[in-house]
């Protein structure tokens, strides 16, 4: 059974600070996804990481993937209030490209 663990589950940051969210998964996977969810809203795709060493950046967010360590990180640079949301990582199991397993999510709050 594929398990996905995120930490921390809750993160309170000050504006302007940097932080990293970690996502560990238990079995070999083809793809790793990061999603953002605002309260009462659906999930918005942020990044898809397809191979070992993949790095993607969009604005103040940067995601990376280490398939050997089964670890992905989402790095936040100089946080701003608009980044406050819940962030999920999700993984699909090799050979099962339609079923995503999600982590529990990291609730990020950026304070002034």
């Amino acid at each position: 059974e594929l398990k996905v663990e995120q930490n921390p589950l809750f993160l309170s940051m000050q504006e302007g600070k940097n932080y990293t969210i970690y996502c560990n998964y238990s079995t070999t996977s083809d793809r790793l996804y990061w999603y953002r969810q605002d309260p009462g809203k659906s999930l918005e795709s942020l990044f898809v990481l397809l191979s070992n060493g993949a790095v993607k950046q969009e604005g103040r967010l940067m995601a990376s993937l280490d398939t050997k360590a089964r670890l992905s990180t989402l790095h936040i640079t100089a946080a701003v209030h608009d980044l406050s949301a819940t962030y999920f990582c999700a993984v699909d199991m090799r050979g099962s490209n339609y079923k995503l397993t999600f982590g529990k999510g990291t609730l990020l709050t950026v304070n002034p």
């Binding site: 996905v4 809203k41 659906s42 999930l43 795709s45 898809v48 999920f88 999700a90 699909d92 490209n97 339609y98 079923k99 995503l100 397993t101 999600f102 982590g103 529990k104 999510g105």
Partner: protein
């Protein structure tokens, strides 16, 4: 339509009542997925359709849950004899090709509360 549309957005059901949740995928999308998101948790896979074929229903929690997509477009998730543990947000997603892809999009979900 422009995105995945789900209805109703909110549903309150009395325990034991049957409910039907509707999903309109993006036009032309082959794949359709249902996920269940309990409060404070990540979404959990329920079922997957490719066109009208239900290829995986392993995530459906019990035989009270039933999903269909008879014409390969709109899908309905039906829950019979609802229980309190069924309270959750039910998310539908669609994808242009077979399987999950970078072009998969979620709808806004239906929040089901069983009282």
């Amino acid at each position: 339509g422009a995105g995945v549309s789900q209805s109703p957005r909110y549903k309150v059901a009395k325990r034991g009542q049957d409910v039907a949740l509707r999903c309109d995928p993006i036009s032309g999308h082959v794949s359709l997925f249902w996920y269940q998101q309990a409060l404070g948790q990540g979404p959990e896979f329920l079922t997957y359709f490719q066109n009208e074929a239900q290829l995986d229903k392993s995530g459906l929690p019990s035989d009270r849950f039933f999903a269909e997509r008879p014409e390969g477009s709109v899908s309905t998730l039906k829950i019979q004899r609802t229980q309190q543990e069924d309270s959750a947000v039910y998310l539908c997603a669609s994808s242009l090709a077979g399987g999950w892809s970078t072009e998969a999009f979620f709808g806004q979900g239906t929040r089901l509360t069983v009282v």
